[in-house]
Amino acid sequence: MEKMSRVTTALGSNAISGRTMFCHLDAPANAISVCRDATQVVVAGRNIFKIYALEEEQFVEKLNLRVGRKPSLNFSCADVMWHQMEENLLATAATNGAVVTWNLGKPSRNKQDQLFTEHKRTVNKVCFHPTEVYMLLSGSQDGFMKCFDLRKKESVSTFSGNLVCNNSFMCQSESVRDVQFSMKDYFTFAASFENGNVQLWDIRRPDRYERMFTAHTGPVFCCDWHPDDRGWLATGGRDKMVKVWDMTTNRAKEIYCVQTIASVARVKWRPERKFHLATCSMMVDHNIYVWDIRRPFIPFATFEEHKDVTTGIVWRHQHDPHFLLSGSKDSTLYQHMFKDATRPVDKANPEGLCFGLLGDLAFAAKESLITSDANRKPYPGGDRRYPMFFFKKPDPTEQFAHVSSALSVFETDLDSHRMDWFVKTAQLYLLSGKPFAELCDHNAKVAQELKRPQVSTTWTMLRIMFSDPANLATPGPNHNLGKLGTLPLMNSFSLKDLGSGMGAESRLERSKGESRQDNIHLEPGNSYISNNEENEETEGSEGHPEYMFGDAELDDDDLYSMEHDNQTEEQEYTLPQEAFQLRHEIVDNPSAPEHLQQDKADSPHVSGNEAEVTCLTPIESFSLISISQPLFSPHLPASFFCPIVREMLSYYAEQGDVQMAVSVLIVLGDRIRKEIDDLTQEHWYMSYIDLLQRFELWNVSNEVIKLSTCSAITCLNQTSTTLHINCSNCKRPMSNKGWICDRCHQCASVCAVCHHVVKGLFVWCQGCSHGGHLEHMMNWLKSSAHCPAGCGHLCEYT
């Protein structure tokens, strides 16, 4: 005791110190509580009830309160609270319905002081009055709250949370999940219930609550009064929300709401920080979050140490915001230092970017960056840029809340066909349903027609590499997955270099005429510009290795010696032509991945420059021939190529042509799938599907989902699997069997022209709601202005 008092005085000058530390408990903890002077913490659970001293470097076990040979259920604690006035006094709520008080000043080993067994069910919560020494409140599963005077043997008053039974059939007893005395109002306490209600009681009036409101859907697991602000009550519920209520007004008003990712088990206001509170969850999520309630979308700080759900959190000292203690099901007790917390906001991308359907681009970034950049670099030619600024009220004292972003929307020319190639490719590619070689050929042709020779060549090469059926069975021997994982796949998404980013936007508009594979990602970090000088450089360096993979690993002589072994293969080669064409095209549509730092003021029109670059470097043309010419060598199993193909796929993905990566992945199927780690594949699939859906290519995206082998992707098709239709006659929902409405017994969607059931595209007039087969309606309305159903409505087909 001497030591404790010494520390108490030391704390007067706010001198708690320590570090992030933890200790192992013998059993999972259910609740923790800290004594007033912040030197000791009590941990309670089903099989544990101990007091630990908080020392500079470690937790030291001071006392084991769980004594006796065969501890009774009274020691099995659901909750524990240390009295904030009387440092020897503790109360626990036992799972068997007992409320027990403990006096640490007792000389005997068993410190149990009083035992109240008035509750019939598990007691979920005990709470001492903040200023009154002898007053203890408990809330139980049986729907009652009891107030005990510790000087007496039994409760002084009982509060029933049950609603008045106005329905004789249903008289539910609602469990009390939490009770909390108000910090400021002497007589008030709040109770939260399993049915989502929160009640306010006056301790002097046990007959009826003062006020009741529904705070959450589903149980309200916890509530906490704001330590400083009289009227604020925070509640957390199973519906994954934390809500802050202003109780000063007549009706409880929700003033803040934080949406978390799992049900909220505990909520505790952070001392000395008016807008901060800490939460932890009961299921799935193990982290502790500290939120700034004014910024509910991202936690202010996160503590990620626990490996199982956190069951108890408490701030170490009433006036020190830097120490948080927590107990967990994983049988550890932690002291978290606030300075060691993870700050999710640091990792969050502060810039947001989004494409509109028509190629518009919205871009949000820190306001300071935007303005300075805009000033530095005004856009010529009257660009359509509409900056909109959203400011939050700046509060210099809070580093976290001070956020302001600017949102800019860039419109693009509606006539631009920049993404045409993407849409066309997506629609024309064949991903399944034919032999492998045919798929490749088909896709190569598609790419060729869209003037994307690199892609086209890749398809052709893939066919050559993998089309020997003898080699298909052998899996790739080289699993270089580790290497792949480290590739910065999505670096094209990072928006680090904002300056060049803004520059790219202007270029983006000017390069609209081109059909380029790289345009798919128009984010500013990657500024592609078709610039001829650049192209020539990169053909030799960057683009080259992709084609030249054979040179490094294959002996050219070997390849040539194989040349005419296989008669059947030979006829497929129309190589000279292809190669020739390629030479032109390659210049036209460079695959240069180089990031341009300089913005060329007059971006040349590509086709105009074709002539300048007709002659390629000799290496380039040679490489094309040398790769496609030699026939497949039986000495080289398909798996031999896997590492190269894998690199190629990553290359395409990095370039932003995730379409190519995914298409190849699907077409190659098992040949390559094992070579690429699942996460990367999933990432590609997700990106491609997202893109397809933005272009409303629903069919293609569905096909991709169906063909994908990632479980996470195929899952996408398992949600929202139901389509509800209403009968066109009686406007009632149809049952899901057949085409006949079960209410009015008419065929639901009959074509007004041919009077048959429409089992495909159904088009109807929004004026008279008659319709039918798309073709029939088109033809009908070509010749007639009236509705084919004869209703007299003047329909119009546009």
């Binding site: 009774s72 259920l73 249903m170 799935v284 899952c715 699997t721 009015c744």
Partner: protein, 548 residues
């Protein structure tokens, strides 16, 4: 043939509408259709009756239709349909065609038909629930009829079942029905199996799968193990089982699918308990629900005679016992009152409380359930699962040390709900409502007594079932169970929950003799939901452990 099937399905469906005129249209259509069919095979009947087994396909087709019409004439919630169907059957009979007649009387073997709600005489709320059920499924099954004693619950039950089987969810429709079949087959519940075989085929399931689990996709076969453990010894479920299902290359389950499957499995296991517990008879239009043979004494269903449900013997054996047992309810009420009062005076020591649970758990094992008829299940049902010998084994008797499951550490309200709702939205909410509903359902009556607080009794039943599964509530004094539940009742509970296929009418009758049938159905609802929750808790706990 395929097309025809589709058509006929559509035809029956149209009867579900609430609009009388379109319903009349539909029934008229059916009548014409049936009469046309009858006329086409008109000349055959004189020959056919002698060889019922070798009926030609059109005849069989017609028989199916006639069976369906018969079902409608008895079970359709719409009076006009019932009348029209009966009339149709009479007309056909007049033409000299054999018409089917229902086997057995009423939806339940245990409850005399006259006690069960008459479809024609229900209040408007129940009527509307029945109509909804009929519209959704094209039939009003016997389970719903029996549950009709408790319309509030029935509504919640049907909504959940409808959502599980027909609404948005990760599993394809035929998978859902197949899982239902698997689960029901585990308990040899031919009623549910037949019902869902029909549904399974109707949603386009592959008939080959019905030959046995080995014909079903690998993915479903893997579920067999989970099905087995959940049905009989859910406490043995570990996260390794879950991992095995989730990580099985191309046959693996996704978490959402698994949750859906688990909910379906537990739903049908417990529904099988209810089916046996209430002695639900086969649907009229399913196999075993009707016969084309003319009534003759030798053809009576044996059980009918034994159970006093036949036409001739209307003597209810209950009457004989009534005199002896008239004190039973009063004794029970007295005990409840005593418990209520004594609670504060006499506080059992904590150790005593702990041992009481163990004793109750152990004792529940010793309650002898079977009438030692250890015959294997009939072949046609056992093919839907493997390892037919695997059953509920009393864990303490076999010396296995299974740690007690503490309800406070993993409860439905706090943990289970969140997990289910996260992975299978809306279902958590529905199950939550259903559990709440059944737990709190009371009419404040006991037999003939009014204004009784039955919460104590209900809680004892609920906790007794959880106790059999090793789930312990710290805040419950298991001594109460011994006071409130007598031995015959315990035998009944134990049989229903652990091996429902062994339920007999004698068991049903020997507990709570003075109570009304509606109250016994109420008990069955409690048993069913408590069992479902217990199984779910074990399954969800395993999944949670896998996830952390």
């Amino acid at each position: 043939m395929e097309v025809q099937d589709q058509e006929s399905v559509g035809r029956w469906d149209r009867l579900g509408t609430r609009d009388p005129s379109s319903r009349a249209d539909a029934i008229e259509n059916i009548c014409q259709e049936v009469m046309r069919k009858v006329e086409t095979i008109g000349p055959i009947p004189p020959v056919a009756p002698l060889s019922p087994a070798s009926g030609s396909p059109p005849g069989n087709d017609l028989n199916d239709i006639l069976a369906h019409v018969l079902m409608l004439s008895r079970r359709c919630p719409f009076e006009d349909v019932r009348e029209r169907c009966s009339q149709l059957l009479r007309n056909i009979q007049d033409l000299g065609i054999r018409i089917p007649r229902p086997l057995g009387n009423g939806p339940s073997k245990f409850i005399p038909e006259k006690e069960i709600l008459q479809i024609s005489k229900v209040d408007s709320r129940t009527q509307s629930i029945f109509e909804d059920a009929f519209a959704a499924l094209g039939r009003l099954d016997n389970i719903s009829l029996v549950m009709g004693f408790h319309p509030q619950y029935l509504e919640s039950f049907l909504r959940t079942q409808h959502y599980l089987l027909q609404m948005d969810g990760p599993l394809p429709l035929h998978y859902r029905h197949y899982i239902g079949i698997m689960a029901a087959a585990r308990h040899q519940c031919s009623y549910l199996v037949n019902l869902h075989v029909n549904d399974f085929l109707q949603v386009g399931g592959d008939p080959k799968w019905l030959n046995g689990l080995f014909e079903a996709p690998q993915k479903l076969q893997q579920l067999g193990e989970l099905n087995k453990i959940l049905a009989h010894r859910p406490w043995l479920l570990t996260k390794q089982h879950i991992e095995g299902l989730l990580k099985a290359e191309e046959h693996s389950w996704s978490l959402a699918e698994l949750i859906h499957a688990v909910v379906l499995l537990t739903h049908y296991h417990s529904l099988a308990s209810f089916t046996f517990g209430c002695g639900i008879t086969p649907e009229i239009h399913c196999d075993g629900g009707h016969t084309f043979r003319p009534p003759s004494l030798s053809q009576y269903c044996v059980c009918d005679i034994a159970n006093g449900n036949g036409h001739t013997s209307e003597v209810n054996p209950d009457y004989a016992f009534l005199k002896d047992m008239c004190g039973e309810v009063e004794v029970l009420m007295e005990r409840m009152k005593q418990l209520q009062e004594c609670r504060d005076d006499e506080e059992a020591s904590q150790e005593e409380m702990a041992t009481r649970f163990e004793r109750e758990k152990t004792e529940s094992m010793l309650v002898v359930t079977s009438e030692d008829e250890e015959s294997g299940p009939p072949r046609d049902i056992s093919r839907h699962f493997e390892d037919p010998s695997y059953g509920y084994k009393d864990f303490s008797r076999r010396g296995e040390q299974v740690p007690t499951f503490r309800a406070q550490d993993y409860s439905w309200e706090d943990h289970g709900f969140s997990l289910v709702n996260r992975l299978y939205p809306n279902v958590g909410q529905m199950l939550d409502e259903k559990f709440h509903m059944v737990y709190n359902l009371t009419y404040n009556t006991m037999a003939t007594h009014k204004d009784v607080d039955t919460s104590m009794l209900r809680r004892a039943i609920w906790n007794y079932i959880h106790c059999m599964f090793g789930i312990r509530y710290d805040d419950y004094d298991y001594g109460e169970i011994n006071q409130l539940l007598d031995r015959s009742f315990k035998i009944y509970i134990k049989t229903i929950v652990c091996s429902p296929e062994k339920t007999t009418k004698r068991m049903y009758e020997s507990f709570w003799r003075q109570f009304q049938h509606s109250e016994k159905v109420h008990v069955n609802l409690l048993l069913m939901e408590a069992r479902m929750q217990a199984e779910l808790l074990y399954a969800l706990r395993a999944i949670t452990r896998y996830m952390t």
